[in-house]
Symmetry: none
Subunit: 257 residues, 2 copies
């Protein structure tokens, strides 16, 4: 696949950015590396003259940016989502360094839309937001001062993306993991499956909503280690649905999601 | 040689920077990657509150920055100097991409002090300044918009420097390894889980044993793409068991396998 096509399938999502200047810097960083699809989740100030000023020649990226109320909305249709996190999390999707994670991201971009998610400048991403991603990338920064500027972090990741796209690099493991013919599940389909699991677990008393513990994060961690196909989600949801059917019998095919 | 020692031998030189904010951004970018030696050649405004503001926690790098009147002064003592240039020059030192040039820079840093030189935001480096360097590095940017912000360019190069300096110290496999505390599932535990799935699927009518189709192979394919932990198997089997409990209620912990 041509690098330009691959790059066009990568969206950059900024969650709750505080400073419009950083939104402009991110747009500029993206455009210098050939990316154009910017999504903003609940930005504090946008549009804003400060964003335009820092974007310089990338104001077109700002003008075509899509604004969402929530992260799931911004991720609709994405088949693979990587979150940037400054620190390792105990329970969460598998993590790695930029080069490795960008190779995985590009391998997935061969199959469909993918996303790279950045958190707020001060507080980063919440654990709940991280749980919605399939992988976490950490820039191996100075442990004594690891706080990259948001625009600078976008620049580093987009640079790695461009380098890998130009080199034709894609993680062989991921590229061969799934036949090209199979249809990757989208973010919203995967979230639908988790909601289904939660409903069945609650209904059967396996999960106490008042004291959920770590059951759901652990389920997410398990399934985020692999790229789910739509077909597989249909099977899992079909099993769940069949167990709740009044007759204990599910007719026909697994339900479409 | 230790990465910290190598990094301490690399100076970042900014020639005639116009905007103090970019000096602050460069200082921050350097410190996040473990660099500290900043040299400023004829800065338009420095020190400046805007530089401090953009440096955030890297004000110490600004405070120890050395100011020179000329590039040769800033390069005194350096045994190898690489210039950043947005474009190839017909006549000039040999050029290359960041990864290649950073490798050369670090190889030289084993022997002594080295420098990375950045030009003015608008006009870059003069041919005369470029001629004072032993090599030119070009970031392979979007040909239609190749103008990286100065701080962002410093971030990209310092990031490559840190990655190269740390290389060999951290195995990428480590990054994705499962924490030692978690216990991998054994073959028989995994087979027990598949048997449990099959039993529930058959009992609910989701699977017709006379015509099983590809349901079970597809489940195996899904779970075989990741290394399951015993804990995860307990959760999945717990969910399955809870759905078949006569009261629809599973007490206590997920069952041991």
């Amino acid at each position: 696949m041509k690098p330009e096509v691959l790059l066009s399938r990568i969206r950059v999502v900024l969650c709750r950015p505080s400073h419009p200047g950083n939104i402009g810097a991110a747009a500029r960083a993206m455009k210098t590396m050939g990316l154009a699809d910017l999504r903003l989740v609940d930005p504090r100030r946008f549009p804003d003259p400060e964003a335009d000023a820092r974007a310089t020649g990338a104001v077109d990226v700002l003008e075509s940016a899509k604004i969402s109320d929530s992260l799931p909305e911004a991720l609709t249709g994405a088949i693979f989502v990587v979150a940037l996190s400054a620190r390792r999390r105990d329970l969460g999707p598998p993590g790695g360094q930029p080069r490795e994670m960008v190779a995985r991201l590009l391998a997935q971009a061969e199959q469909g839309q993918v996303a790279l998610v950045f958190g707020n400048e001060t507080v980063g991403l919440t654990n709940e937001e991280i749980q919605q991603c399939q992988a976490v990338v950490t820039i191996p920064a100075n442990p004594e001062f690891s706080s990259l500027n948001l625009g600078a972090a976008v620049q580093v990741l987009c640079y790695e993306i461009r380098m890998a796209a130009l080199a034709g690099l894609a993680s062989p493991a991921d590229a061969t993991a799934t036949p090209a013919s199979s249809r990757m599940a989208t973010h919203d389909e995967i979230e639908g499956m988790y909601a289904h699991f939660e409903a069945v677990m609650t209904e059967t008393g396996f999960l106490n909503p008042a004291h959920p513990g770590r059951l759901l994060p652990k389920l997410r961690r398990l399934f985020s280690r692999t790229r789910l196909e739509r077909d597989e989600i249909n099977i899992l949801r079909g099993i769940l649905a069949a167990t709740r059917s009044p007759t204990g019998h599910a007719r026909g095919k697994p339900p479409a999601t």
